[in-house]
């Protein structure tokens, strides 16, 4: 412990200013709150998280920190904003689209201004970093240039160590993508739809193959030379063009396997007044939730696509129940004995996740699993897992077995 006077003396003697004293320039223009609100609102359906922050030793740390939650229960960890809400694309679901009859006031940040707000919010621990998306502006490349300039001001001038996620605008040039990747932790191109035909319905001015998929290929290829700590991601509007869950799954498989996507985000379609899609039916939020569960089964639980196909009904949709249970009913013919089952077998039982499966394996090395309480203590959700387990030679009675 040292005295407050000594700490004050050390701080005053330090010339190192990580964020730049320019932040406290009295002449600096005060922020336009209407602009912050309008451009913030433009990204409220975008999903992101700072799930790959960099630690002091420059290692990628897996989990980020949520600095707040909105009243819809979603985490706020980044300053998520548009650079501009002026857009020449005619996306039929988007409030910023040129096709929207309810044209709100158009705003745009200046790179300096946006960097200053980000730094102030970061320094006071409101956020972990910046998520920057944008309308196309006059043209994609000049808007991308401004977005990159903002990231450059943060990284180079202010030595900003927080997280930066930049959206790659549809049709952006290879050079602007390369610059964005050099400065950010993660980049993403929004897929929005699953195919050219669905894209034509949702956004007639965008070319699915050229504007979206080709940009994702650029990112994949550039990642061989440029380190992008948190990789590239993508996002889909679920149900905007009536696509089935199976179509979404097939598209996502392609994205994971061929384009090296780190993860996909799903956003259930919600009609916005003034847009051409305003009279379309709102997609239920559970559909988004079930798609995330399906995604986890593929990415984290390592289920094969063939197994996941069991979760879809004849029309190619997931039902509003846990897809893992639907798969287990079809795949697990015999009850699993937790005393002898492998990791791959354990993880296929509903109520047992990667962590509890690992715990069961560790526990088994020195102990015997003889009762349900042992499993409950290891984090297994025993009510869900019970019908699929055989513990000490005993199985739970189920309605199916009674009928047989």
């Amino acid at each position: 412990m040292v005295t407050l006077e000594k700490i004050a003396h050390l701080a005053l003697g330090s010339s190192f200013d990580p964020l730049g004293a320019g932040l406290y320039n009295a002449e600096a223009e005060r922020p336009d709150f209407d602009k912050i609100a309008a451009l913030g609102k433009g990204t409220r359906y975008d999903v992101c998280s700072s799930n790959a922050i960099i630690d002091d030793l420059n290692n990628v740390v897996k989990s980020g920190i949520c600095h707040s939650f909105t009243h819809d229960g979603r985490c706020i960890s980044l300053f998520k904003t548009l650079y501009t809400n002026w857009c020449t694309h005619q996306c039929n679901y988007c409030t910023n689209s040129a096709a929207c009859s309810d044209q709100s006031r158009k705003f745009s940040y200046a790179p300096e201004e946006l960097a200053r707000i980000t730094l102030e919010l970061y320094r006071t621990n409101h956020i972990e970093g910046l998520f920057l998306s944008s309308g196309s502006g006059a043209d994609e490349d000049s808007t991308m240039e401004k977005m990159v300039e903002t990231a450059r001001i943060l990284r180079v001038r202010h030595n900003f160590r927080g997280y930066i996620h930049l959206k790659i605008l549809p049709g952006a040039s290879l050079e602007s993508i390369r610059e964005a990747m050099e400065l950010s932790d993660r980049v993403s191109v929004n897929l929005e739809a699953t195919s050219q035909s669905h894209m034509s319905e949702m956004s007639p001015t965008k070319d699915f193959q050229n504007d979206i998929i080709q940009r994702q290929r650029y990112v994949r290829d550039l990642m061989e030379k440029i380190t992008l700590p948190a990789g590239q991601t993508t996002q889909l509007v679920v149900g905007g063009a009536g696509e089935s869950d199976q179509e979404i799954f097939q598209r996502i498989l392609y994205e994971y396997r061929e384009l090296g996507i780190k993860r996909a985000y799903y956003s259930a379609f919600s009609p916005i007044s003034g847009t051409p899609f305003e009279s379309r039916k709102k997609e239920p939020l559970w559909r988004e939730h079930r798609l995330y569960q399906m995604d986890w089964l593929y990415r984290i639980y390592r289920f094969s696509p063939g197994e996941i196909e069991h979760a879809f009904n004849d029309s190619g949709f997931l039902s509003n129940s846990d897809p893992k249970v639907a798969i287990a009913r079809k795949v697990l013919e015999l009850a699993v004995d937790p005393a002898s089952a492998s990791y791959a077998e354990l993880i296929r039982v509903p109520g047992i996740g990667p962590r509890s499966a690992s715990k069961i394996l560790a526990f088994r090395m020195h102990n015997r699993i003889s009762k349900r309480e042992d499993l409950a203590n290891l984090g297994v959700r025993i009510k869900r897992a019970g019908p699929f387990l055989k513990i000490n030679g005993w199985r739970e009675a189920t309605l199916d077995r009674w009928l047989k």
Partner: protein, 199 residues
Amino acid sequence: MRVPENFVFYLSAHRGCNDHLLAEAKKMNAEYVELSSDPKAVLIRRMVYSVQAEVHRMRGFVRLKALGFKILYGYLKPEHRIGDWICDHFAKRSPSTIIALGNSNQSWVSLYHNGSMQKSQGAGIEDTIKAFQSAMGAMPGDQGIERIWETYYASQYCPERRNLQSFNHRMPKKALRSAGLSIERNANGCTLKDFFKQE
């Protein structure tokens, strides 16, 4: 494994920890604490998780205010003895900046300077700030950041997704109080209807 190798360190910060429990914990290893159903191990595991959870929440929820460009200060009243850890975390995040956290009774101060951490503890945060002001001279205060945050926070809310159960689960009132959050707490206006599932 969720129980860290240095779990005794976390346990020692728990408000309910005593010498007897610490001595018991030192005889165990992390794997045993994580997997065992021994009531002592279960108790220690819960206490370690509780401290870890509070550290994580406070790192996210504590808000800092700038005093010039050399001091950041904020409100913190943790349940466990983690005040100096949180302070060190912010000091490393903003090197060469004094971090002062605390409440009316207690305060923690950290400065990460030239690769080493300088620490101090004192009485209430107001006294600590006054001491710095007298040592360092007058400094400009609030830069209007609260209003920027309030505007941005409101812009991110999707009314059609309103889910107060989820909000309350992730931002429990206890954590809001400990970190002195006011914007999130005050924005939580709701009616009985919100607690019943909507068709």
